[in-house]
Symmetry: C2
Subunit: 250 residues, 2 copies
DNA sequence: CCCCCACATTGATGCATATCAACTCCGTCC
DNA sequence: GGACGGAGTTGATATGCATCAATGTGGGGG
């Protein structure tokens, strides 16, 4: 598997090719998200073949992976870091439709044009596949398609959760639900139940929850004042799990 | 194809079996949503086989097709009428996550338990498949799976549109966007570009847009006062299409 | 080391939408 | 025909969150 990196200084699209295909099997076998991602649908011998279709790319924070309305050249399988997915209105309002974590697949829809933008919140590593190549491979692997369909319907369920949150929850419930949901997703990758890292900015959280930065900040300090959480550098620590969960109002 | 009906008086779950399998080919061939629905993925000879797996059901307004958190016995292919899909919070707040129109598929996710509720806004007709039976059939038809995957990713895109709407649009934009979107979907089934039928209540529209009944009503009368629409029995008529579209703020 | 800038927090005020309440319209059931 | 109830509209008021503004904080570069 070719390895490719981008550097801040060279702009978001500059890439450096590193190690060769020869090492790909070991890399895939060691993959931190093996078992979580699409690849879990593949047999070991298919995995080898599959991985030859991809490049490992490393991108710095703020790098663009996917640009809304542009032709979809690549699809990505995130292996490290955090990505925000969003749509923009013409007047600049932004709605973040999701955060992608290691193991997440970007470009499920396989449409010709991207229906959202995606950029790195923090430095990112990903397996990148040319869309056409992936589509051809997919056409002859029904179990991979099945896996992809599972992932899309899971995404759809999450999207519906998010609609309930955006349409019918108060600011405090939104922030509490966000913290719980993010912790649950994070703990699937890296057990650390009570410390929740928050690599994204308050603005990002606000644009995800349909709130302003100020409101997010106020709700965070309210939760801290109520001894439900403590705000720590780059995240929060949960003090009262039960109370935080009860604030989500199922 | 067996035909089955429910009557108001007998409660939402009473069903009457009507015509037999012998007529199913003609029925499927004449299906008003042929070409729109999942079935468009099937060859004529497969369609015959496929239709034998289903029953045609007729349900009155308010009948429940799908109940949240219950075991998913059936999946549905809507052929006539309108269905609301929603989730409830424990305190009674409701978020409608979508309206299903003829041709729409209910139960894409094929999960063991339903992740939302669905009931008829107006009397409904649908092809109903036992989930297990459909799943078995699906397992041996990759092109049907492909079609299902197309439908899910389309749903996902719509869900993301809805997130933008719920998180970042004003009440007036929400109502305008709803009218335009509903007209576009409706016109794919029944050409009538300027008259938009609205079989659902104002409460339903509010629960879809994250607004109260009163706000929906006010925005409707504002649009009418501004000569953008006229409110007619069971719907609206568009007077100024350009203006209505511009209010959506893309 | 200190300046700078982006991010976060806090406070004061405004506004869009929710809430509460009254009234109309219309269809249904006695 | 009249009583009733649900849906829709309209008005008065309340409030949750946005907006505007000021201050605090931490990291990177000269």
């Amino acid at each position: 598997m070719a390895r490719v990196s981008a550097h801040d200084g060279d702009g978001p699209h500059s890439l450096r090719v590193g190690c060769s295909h020869a090492t790909c099997e070991t890399i895939c076998a060691d993959c931190p998200v093996r078992g979580l991602a699409v690849c879990s649908a593949l047999e070991p011998e298919e995995l080898d073949e599959f991985s030859r279709l991809s490049q490992t790319v490393h991108l710095p924070g703020k790098a663009t992976l996917i640009a809304q309305d542009e032709e979809a050249e690549y699809i990505f399988n995130l292996t490290a870091g955090v990505v925000r997915l969003y749509r923009l209105l013409s007047d600049g309002r932004r709605q973040i439709v999701g955060f992608a974590l290691p193991g997440d697949f970007l470009g499920l829809a396989m449409t010709k044009r991207n229906t959202f933008s995606a950029d790195a919140v923090a430095p990112v590593a990903a397996c990148r596949f040319p869309r056409e190549v992936f589509a051809r491979y997919l056409a002859e692997k029904p179990h991979l398609l099945r896996r992809l369909h599972e992932l899309s319907t899971h995404e759809l369920t999450l999207a519906q959760d998010q609609m309930v949150l955006l349409g019918r929850r108060t600011a405090e419930e939104k922030v509490a639900a966000f913290l719980i949901a993010f912790r649950d997703r994070w703990s699937r990758i890296n057990q650390a139940h009570l410390h929740i890292p928050l690599p994204m900015s308050r603005q990002d959280i606000g644009d995800f929850l349909g709130l302003t930065v100020e409101t997010v900040s106020r709700m965070m300090t309210k939760l801290a004042r109520d001894k439900v959480i403590v705000i720590v550098p780059d995240g929060v620590r949960i003090l009262d799990e039960k109370k935080l969960e009860s604030l989500c109002a199922g």
